[in-house]
């Protein structure tokens, strides 16, 4: 049996088959054990991360409302080519389905959904449904009846919107997230000014994250440098304040900031009693307060990766630069900093990725002008129950994260690997 399994030329295998076989079995057992150990985590991630992710992706493009609440219309309107007005069977199906939908909450969802795309659609649908229900009998001439209720039914727009919404997927939410809308005739145009807020929010999110990241890097680099070059004892002492925030909950830290920064808080009252200022500085519920709290959260995430990279740069490089005629400042910028770039890149991308997802911080210490994308994800998901919009924004947020991650890998990862 061993001859069949093992190459006869392999002396080791021929001489010690039992040992080999034992080794194989052991290897399998080890693999199995490893797999079993990983299983809980794997299942946990799949159930609580993978599945919601897929579902969110689907919500961002799904368009189930017409199919669910107007099943006959959905079936009939597929046969219409979209030119002019739809044929009679579509009108008939609409009259029938609307009454049915009115008996459940389906009409509400449908009305909201169509209203996103065509302002006034909500009113049109509810009004029509009420009138039809009051009429009791299904109308003989559905087309005439509907148009009699509202002239809109005689215009192609509502039908074009229904026809597009009857498709299983829609680009509506993503278009909205980029301040675009699709006209009933299919043309993609800029959204009206009162709805065009998302590009602004996206820019604000990216800008505020960049500023917070830059501030965290500026403040964190000297600390990381000190940590990397301190003696073991000092390093231990220095690490405590760096790691301390990890042991305190975010909410508690934010509340502490509120105590410190508020109008009659510790900072303002001490500045006033010292005579530095006359009236309290606005430190809270604005951009400044948000940056202070954000940077505080980001610092450990900047310092620790930087420290691990700076620690690996031997001090000989600074000495070498110095012996070659570089003043300490020049030596730092020409010999030290270029070698710290991979660490800076890693720290910056980590801080930025964390920043763009900030939510609690702005909610507690920021004002309305500090709200970033994650706030609007929560807003659409919990306040207006517009899952499509929440999902689309969340997906865009995730895409930005992925792009930054890949870009930083490309830029810093490839150059950074110097070995």
């Amino acid at each position: 049996m061993t001859d069949m399994v093992f190459d006869a030329g392999n002396a080791d295998a021929v001489l010690r088959p039992s040992l080999r076989r034992g080794g194989r079995g052991a290897l399998w057992r080890r693999r199995l054990a490893g797999f079993v150990l990983v299983m809980p985590m794997l299942l946990f991630s799949l159930a609580l991360f993978g599945a919601p992710l897929v579902q969110t992706l689907w919500y961002a493009v799904a368009s189930p409302e017409v199919g669910e609440s107007l099943p006959h219309v959905a079936a009939q309107i597929r046969r219409w080519d979209g030119e002019g007005l739809p044929p009679d069977p579509v009108y008939a199906a609409m009259a029938g389905d609307l009454v049915e939908a009115g008996k459940t909450r389906a009409l509400f969802h449908l009305a909201s959904r169509l209203n996103y795309e065509l302002t006034g659609a909500r009113r049109l649908l509810t009004r029509t449904e009420t009138r039809l229900e009051r009429a009791d009998d299904p109308p003989q001439d559905a087309r005439a009846a509907l148009i009699a209720i509202d002239k809109e039914w005689g215009q192609p727009e509502i039908w074009q919107v229904v026809r597009r919404a009857a498709l299983p997927v829609t680009a509506h939410y993503f278009l909205s997230a980029f301040d675009l809308r699709q006209e009933p005739d299919g043309a993609i145009v800029a959204a009206p000014a009162e709805n065009a807020i998302f590009l602004n929010i996206m820019a604000r999110t990216l800008w505020m994250s960049s500023v917070a990241t830059a501030l965290a890097l500026l403040l964190g680099f000297p600390v990381a440098y000190l940590l990397a070059n301190a003696s073991a004892r000092w390093r231990g002492l220095l690490l405590i304040p760096v790691l301390l925030p990890f042991w305190v909950s975010l909410i508690a830290r934010l509340c502490a900031w509120i105590v410190l920064l508020q109008k009659d808080g510790i900072i303002n009252s001490s500045l006033i009693s010292l005579g530095v200022i006359d009236s309290p500085l606005p430190l809270l519920f604005n951009r400044l307060g948000t940056y202070i709290a954000m940077v505080h959260v980001l610092l450990p995430f900047v310092i620790l990766p930087l420290y691990s990279v700076l620690q690996a740069i031997p001090p000989t490089y600074m000495r070498a630069a110095s012996s070659l005629g570089a003043s300490p400042v020049r030596a730092f910028f020409t010999a030290y900093l270029p070698q710290a770039l991979p660490g800076l890149g890693a720290a910056a991308s980590l801080a930025f990725i964390i920043s763009i997802g900030f939510y609690v911080t702005q909610t507690l210490v920021g004002g309305p002008k500090e709200m970033m994308m994650s706030y609007f994800v929560a807003f659409y998901a919990t306040q207006t129950v517009n899952w499509g919009m929440a999902a689309a924004l969340a997906i865009i947020l995730m895409a930005i994260t992925l792009i930054i991650y890949v870009a930083s890998k490309r830029i810093f990862g490839a150059d950074g690997a110097q070995a």
């Binding site: 012996s323 020049r330 070698q339 110097q418």
Partner: protein, 386 residues
């Protein structure tokens, strides 16, 4: 080029030869522990290759780093061309330093590494490019200019470091164990190459190593360091043939050590009593009868004789090791002492078996009697030569 300006009046009167570097009673101690360098005075002459040799922790690297400007003397002054270096920062000293691990900047190409000191001195690009090319040609790496240091072998990196330390025409070159990271063969090759370069360019070199072979092969003078002090300084031959202390005898080359007491001194010969024998030796320094001494005899100065021959020490063979060009014998003599004998191959008797009685003899001139160190343990060097 950056010139260290020498204020008039601070220069020693121009009576040749003027040392390029003078350590004047320099000490270095840290807050904790014994001083690393004690009361060191040393002159480095222009154009000389001076090596600081010693075991690790003997203060040789600290001595070099104080000249380079990376360590400050606790006491004493260091002068470069007559100028006190106390207030001159490292980057204004204009000294080429080659570090143990080369410290080539990994983010710069070979050419940019070599051009770095020129860039720091604001030399125009075209002129700098020429100098870089010349420096790389000098170390025969002209074809590697665009590579990154990590793409070079250890020996090539070493040569880049050398080119970088020389390209700006420094006052002198300091090297801290520059060959330490290379394998034996490459090291020997680089020794020849560096010595050749030093001679050709007339460079002044301060070289630090713990490898006595390296020190002997390259240096004009060697300063042997022990416990922060120079134990002996001199030419390689002088150090090897005429060590002044047991430490130097032990650290440079191999030797047989025997402990005894002076019985009598007559001219440049003395009689030393050992356990069960009396040996005639050359006294080193001032010795008085009764003084405890250590005898040092180099293994290659010993001659094998027939057993019982007059003037020969009776011994028996422990073993023989054949090494191609010579043989090493270990002999047992004087009631348990082991003697190492190095014989050229043609002087090895045909049949030499373990346990065989033989005689061993040497010229008293090569048997040096030196004051035994007070506590032998403290000054005994760890042999690090390979």
């Amino acid at each position: 080029m950056l010139h260290v300006s020498i204020p008039p009046g601070s220069v020693a009167p121009s009576m040749p030869p003027i040392p390029i570097v003078r350590y004047d009673r320099v000490s270095k101690s840290y807050t904790r522990g014994a001083p690393v360098v004690r009361d060191l005075s040393l002159d480095i002459m222009p154009g000389e290759f001076l090596t600081l040799l010693g075991p690790s922790g003997s203060g040789k690297t600290t001595t070099l780093m104080m000249l380079a400007g990376f360590d400050e003397p606790s006491e004493g002054q260091i002068y470069l061309n007559g100028r006190d270096l106390a207030d001159v920062p490292a980057y204004r000293r204009n000294l080429g330093v080659v570090f143990q691990n080369y410290a080539l900047f990994p983010h710069l190409s070979v050419a940019d590494n070599v051009g770095y000191p020129l860039r720091m001195r604001g030399i125009r690009r075209a002129q700098a490019g020429e100098k870089v090319r010349a420096a790389l040609d000098m170390v025969r790496l002209g074809a590697f200019a665009e590579r990154k240091p990590t793409q070079l072998s250890g020996g090539q990196q070493q040569r880049v470091a050398l080119a970088r330390a020389l390209v700006f025409e420094p006052e002198m070159v300091l090297m801290d164990e520059p060959l330490g990271a290379l394998d034996k063969q490459l090291r020997e090759h680089m020794q020849v190459e560096m010595k050749d370069l030093q001679r050709r360019l007339g460079l002044t070199v301060l070289y630090v190593t713990h490898d006595q072979g390296e020190a002997l092969a390259m240096s004009d003078r060697v300063a042997v360091f022990n416990n922060g002090q120079i134990e002996q300084i001199g030419g390689p031959r002088e150090l090897y043939e005429a060590p002044l202390t047991p430490f130097v005898a032990q650290f440079i080359g191999e030797n047989n050590r025997l402990c005894g007491k002076i019985e009598a001194i007559k001219g440049n010969e003395c009689r030393v009593a050992l356990e069960g024998a009396h040996i005639v030796a050359s006294p080193v320094g001032t010795l008085a009868p009764g003084a405890a001494v250590e005898l040092s005899i180099r293994p290659e100065r010993m001659v094998l004789t027939a057993p019982g021959e007059a003037d020969a020490l009776p011994a028996s063979v422990i073993d023989v090791t054949y090494l191609g060009d010579h043989c090493r014998l270990r002999l047992s003599a004087l009631g348990g002492e082991t003697l190492m004998v190095k014989l050229p191959i043609q002087q090895v008797p045909e049949r030499l078996l373990p346990g065989q009685p033989v005689g061993v003899r040497w010229d008293p001139l090569h048997c040096r009697a030196m004051t035994a160190p007070a506590s032998a343990a403290g000054t005994r060097p760890q042999q690090e030569n390979d």
